[in-house]
Symmetry: C2
Subunit: 426 residues, 2 copies
């Protein structure tokens, strides 16, 4: 996962435009396939049994607060690393249980993004560049979920059910199919009303269709759990998000080109929003929390909104989600906003991106490719901030709504300051 970084001595030789063209070309050529499902401990590079991963630029344990801290504690309890809440806190304090950032393990986390050793993850390979990306499973529709900072018997039982029933069946089907190509599937979903971040209704059933031959064979052999798993998938429109995230991670990680000013990751923690640049390796540039505009579920209020992490903006990093919002106008109902606003917001992203995706296309824009490859220079020059479609978490845990966020300008300013320090004035 580590990246060779150019030193100051390269400053004179760096052609930013050429570096960006190369980073964009690598992103655009990525070919993510899901090939397996396996426990995190078996496939995440460097994973350890006492490790709990979470979203955002990594921080020391004491820096995690609110829902994200609760999610880490919940993860430790779920994995049996501690006997109760106090025991978990003591073990995090002492370092017996370790905290890590998902991105450092080629993974991306939804909301709080908790990974523990036994949790099954989708294994996605970028066939063009050979690198892997990972994401764990959707917990289901229930608003109380570990990734929204909740942990109780219900959350535990649903997570166990994922581990013991759903993931094995899905993994078996994926292996029997010899893997599933995600890029053409996502491209198709964009024509069917998804942007594969906050709307995955089409992609989820398209994925079910891809594994159908294997599933029918499995059902024919009366393999336990097949029926239940397929019906679960059929009823959970959000199922595919984890696959689009893993696909996006495997694609974005291929962007590394010294000197490039294109964004290769965006993520946030309870503390702030952070980005990486394709030309500055694994360094995170963190600013304040994102700016939001959302729609809350009935019975919730603005002041409840809290930040407890989120790495699903990896989808926007590769030209999906908010950058393909004009594909998914039905989101107006879920996250608020008028179609005209969504269309204009999507159009606006062309001002800050390097190019247009050659595979992901927008029917409403006459199949123009989605704006892809956020250029930190353009963000600073235009003042236009990247837009993302996200779920909104509540102070007391659980999902309380959905909406649109904007990355804060500070991340881009800091990243470009560092870029100048390393590579000279642009």
């Amino acid at each position: 996962m580590s990246t060779q970084i150019s030193t100051d001595t390269d400053a004179a030789t760096i052609d930013i435009d050429a570096a960006n063209a190369e980073a964009f070309a690598r992103l655009d050529a990525a070919d993510p396939w899901v090939i397996d499902v396996a426990p995190a401990r078996e496939v995440l590079p460097g994973f350890r049994d006492n490790l709990v991963l979470t979203s955002g630029a990594p921080m020391p344990w004491p820096a995690y607060s609110g829902g994200q801290r609760e999610a880490l504690i919940g993860g430790a309890l779920f994995e049996g690393l501690a006997t109760d809440r106090d025991d978990a806190i003591a073990k995090f304090d002492s370092g017996v249980i370790e905290v890590g950032g998902c991105h450092d393990y080629a993974a991306v986390g939804s909301l709080a993004g908790i990974y523990t050793a036994s949790m099954p993850v989708f294994v996605v390979v970028n066939r063009t560049h050979g690198n892997l990306g990972f994401c764990n499973f959707y917990e289901g529709k229930e608003p109380r979920r570990l990734n929204y900072g909740c942990y109780d018997d219900g959350v535990r039982d649903r997570l166990r059910h994922v581990n013991e029933v759903l993931a094995p069946v899905v993994g078996d089907a994926i292996r029997r199919q010899g893997g599933v190509a995600l890029k053409p599937l996502i491209a198709r979903a964009l024509r069917m009303g998804d942007e594969v971040h906050s709307r995955n209704a089409a992609a989820s059933i398209l994925f079910n269709r891809e594994i159908l031959p294997a599933v029918l064979d499995m059902a024919g052999q009366n393999i336990a759990g097949v029926r239940e798993t397929m019906l679960h998938l059929a009823e959970n429109d959000y199922f595919f998000l984890r696959l689009s995230m893993a696909a996006a991670k495997a694609s974005a990680d291929a962007m590394t080109v010294a000197g490039s000013t294109l964004v290769s990751a965006m993520a946030f923690s309870c503390r702030g929003f952070a980005i990486k640049l394709a030309g500055l390796g694994d360094t995170w540039f963190e600013g304040p929390p994102p700016i939001h505009q959302g729609k809350l579920f009935d019975g919730h209020t603005e002041d409840e909104i809290t930040w407890m992490g989120g790495e699903s903006p990896i989808t926007e990093t590769v030209g999906l989600g908010g950058f393909a919002q004009a594909c998914a106008l039905s989101l107006q109902e879920y996250q608020g906003g008028a179609p005209e606003v969504m269309i204009e917001r999507n159009q606006e992203m062309y001002a800050i991106t390097h190019g247009e995706n050659s595979t992901y296309r927008i029917p409403l824009f006459s199949f123009r490719g989605t704006p892809t490859g956020i250029d930190a220079r353009k963000v600073l020059d235009t003042g236009v901030l990247p837009v993302m479609d996200v779920g909104l978490a509540g102070r007391d845990g659980g999902q309380i709504g959905a909406g649109v966020i904007r990355a804060p300008r500070e991340c881009f300013a800091d990243a470009m300051a560092e870029h100048t320090r390393r590579f000279g004035d642009r």
Copy 2:
């Protein structure tokens, strides 16, 4: 199927606006469910073994020409009603084989729309009003199809395969599920890039998802053909069209209200385009063939385009297809035209319709209901002609493209002339 028609003596008492409001309300309240699959001879009211149905306002046998005539002959051969082409022609000439119009049997035909006794049909019940609607099966992707005027060994084999393998499995699944509600499924498909006339990609997989529980049970019992059928459905995006047509027919047939000027059917034959009004019973008002604008498959030219029938405009009659085109902008690739044109065309239909559908809604128009219930008065007053998305047939048979057609003004003028004769000046 027959309708009680008001006589001239009712003229003074007819309130057209009230009649239209009632006809619209009946259409809007229709609740079509597919409940069975059965051979035409068993379920189409009054069907006879020597009968071949075809699209459009019914004509005597000698009036059918070109591809539609060839399709009728092909139907007779497929059903074993004749030994060869000459024998079939002789038997049609003598009346040993009879020709009928689909609409007279509560059915609707795609393109030439051939129905013979053994052909399986979807049985759709309108739960609100109790009437039934029928449509037979999609033959598959092959451009040479009986409904496009072709008949040869390949066409025969594919039709037999529908009869013997696909239809029994689909019927079994539908019965096991206790029927499938089509209206919510169509409403969902409109949010997923379909208009369920020329684009059915989402509706087809949504339907597959609806029957999945039954299919998994069937696969678990190793019922022959289940795997093959489900994979066929999964690969044929057009599969659902026949269900949307049957649903539309069952809905439109409930519109009958004396004096209403709303259109209750639109269909064409090789001779001309025809409409029915909800207030004028079963009388067809026929004009010239439709006006078209299309996109041809590679290797074909404009002068090849021919009319061999079509009753899929029943979808536009209920507020779908061309009347929901702004849901399905991906069609720009298949049938030509820019998104802006499609959107404007869809908007234009509000000028000639009675109301807005309460279930079928358009995300791009802030979930405004689709323009529904074509009012013949408004068509004449505005000069705006109803728009339809259709497949285009070639002179030598087979599909050669797709496009948009407009109903000719003459049908509406003739229908309103008759309306005036019966009910007095509006």
